[in-house]
Symmetry: C2
Subunit: 321 residues, 2 copies
């Protein structure tokens, strides 16, 4: 019936996503404290900073200090983001602390490409060709095929499965042309348009076109369907997800202020662990990190589980009664 994995790997994006959209500056020490708290929860991958222009994303002006400051924990893979050669050079200064891999990123929606990547789809592919060459010149492998706005777009409206597959094909063709070995295809529901039926259709098509290729889902909970979409992904055998503690984040260019961002890591962990799928994550430590993120950001985060509390605590209380 379904193809649930035994084990899921979750890439925690809370620090990068959450601090990016903060409206008031977050002290560097607080960012580091959250990263270190998250690294102790058992997450295997942790996205810690964005090496972007401070003019475009002022919240990440201190990316270098944050990356220099966290305490590396054995077994945890630390990542960062960058979008141009300057960003790559900043990241390379920390190659002893960061796992440095490039991504080929395109959008399935022409309108979102223009808004978020500031080039049309054809222009973005040309830019990515240059970008790959820069990475290869620096000895940095490009291993991730990343497609944004796969399931719908606030600016274009619906994105058809055919458009989604065309965008994945573009990235994979570019990877083949440039000799990149792609380790995972990341499909992003950047603006929270996906429904579970669509996840099954698109993931199924990607699996049959690129058999054996690992797929990662990057889901947003903008309209409340995020965890249902993750469940649909699990049923289709997806074993890698991005998520953000507390459900923080959300694309600053997507046009719905106040809406939840990424799916909440702790809700994804609950979904998996309650169905017997191992994540390697201590959910209570993760909930504590979520409360820390709320303290640092000075506001409640959208995660329901941060309010409802872990089942472990209730199970322990029931056993003791």
């Amino acid at each position: 019936m379904s193809d649930l994995p035994n084990r899921v790997r979750i890439a925690e994006e809370g620090p990068r996503e959450g601090f990016q959209i903060a409206t008031t500056p977050i002290p560097t020490a607080d960012k580091i404290a959250l990263i270190d708290a998250l690294s102790r929860t058992g997450v295997s991958r942790l996205q810690v900073a964005s090496f972007v222009s401070p003019k475009r994303v002022p919240g990440w002006a201190d990316a270098d200090a944050v990356v220099a400051g966290f305490t590396p924990r054995p077994g945890v893979i630390y990542h960062a983001l960058w979008f141009n050669p300057q960003g790559l050079q900043r990241a390379l200064a920390f190659k002893d602390r960061l796992s440095i891999h490039g991504s080929i990123t395109v959008a399935a929606s022409e309108a979102f490409s223009l808004k978020n990547l500031r080039r049309d789809r054809a222009g973005q592919i040309a830019a990515m060709r240059e970008n790959i060459a820069e990475h290869q010149a620096a000895g940095v492998p490009v291993t991730r095929a990343s497609v944004q706005a796969v399931f719908g777009c606030n600016f274009q409206g619906d994105v058809t499965p055919a458009q989604a597959i065309a965008a994945v094909s573009d990235v994979m063709a570019l990877a083949a042309e440039t000799g990149c070995v792609i380790e995972r295809i990341s499909l992003a529901d950047s603006m929270g348009w996906a429904n579970p039926g669509q996840i099954e259709r698109v993931v199924g098509e990607v699996r049959s076109r690129w058999p054996g290729q690992a797929i990662s889902l990057h889901l947003h909970d903008t309209r409340g369907l995020g965890i249902a979409n993750a469940y649909a992904g699990l049923r289709m055998g997806v074993a890698e997800f991005d998520a953000a503690v507390g459900g923080t984040g959300g694309c600053p260019f997507a046009g719905h202020p106040g809406a939840p961002g990424n799916i909440a890591t702790e809700e994804l962990v609950l979904l998996c662990e309650e169905m017997g799928i191992s994540t390697g994550i201590d959910i209570d430590a993760l909930i504590a990190a979520g409360h820390l993120a709320e303290t640092i950001l000075g506001r409640g985060l959208p995660s329901a589980l941060l309010r409802g509390g872990s089942l472990n605590a209730f199970r322990a209380k029931a056993r003791a009664a």
Copy 2:
């Protein structure tokens, strides 16, 4: 692969659930305004009041005035709740405005039965036997088999599928003994313990034991898995759900203040309609009713969709661009 229905019926419980847990008194006129707004969204069933002791639930001291005051809309079935003969008599005074049917209610968890129903499971069955006789004496059909805490319990901990099925069996045996014709079996995740795998297992078992019997799911989003659980129910052919606009509500005796209550009706409608399952509900009218509920209650409700906004609006904007 799955057994998705073509059409889903949603019983809107927002007014009853939401006003029950309000901490400050809500004016009767506001309650009526929300009921009338909801009746214009296309919902087919609407639970409008609780005829309970004003001492136990002060928020429903004005139940009679609310029921007397709404504007009945053709095609909408209006319901109320009651728990004793006094409540039934109060409801019967409005039999021209309300659809009056009784429920047989038990809990799958002994500990929750004691906390919420204030009797152990055996005591509750005995009390229900009396309750059915009272309904039958008043000429009121008892048509709903309702099981609480089916998927887990904050006080007992886990509830096994065997315990869930035993509780359904108890209710169905009592119905057979007393000559009640059960129209639907309602399975409630009263405290938000369910996961999608468990929904599939328990609903599957109920379907195979009582074939042809309609099943309704009453889901809470306490820990963020509510909509994923609804999706699992849809896959198992469930075509009736309770939900509450904005995700208001939640059991006042369940022990997690601040957590989301019922699944948000508008998120359930989005889930269904985006997958081609008809609900008959105008989602934008429902979102507007959710914002009205927020105004009346004086606080933001947990629904993500109230923040993220309908896809219809974005689709219309994209078409116009």
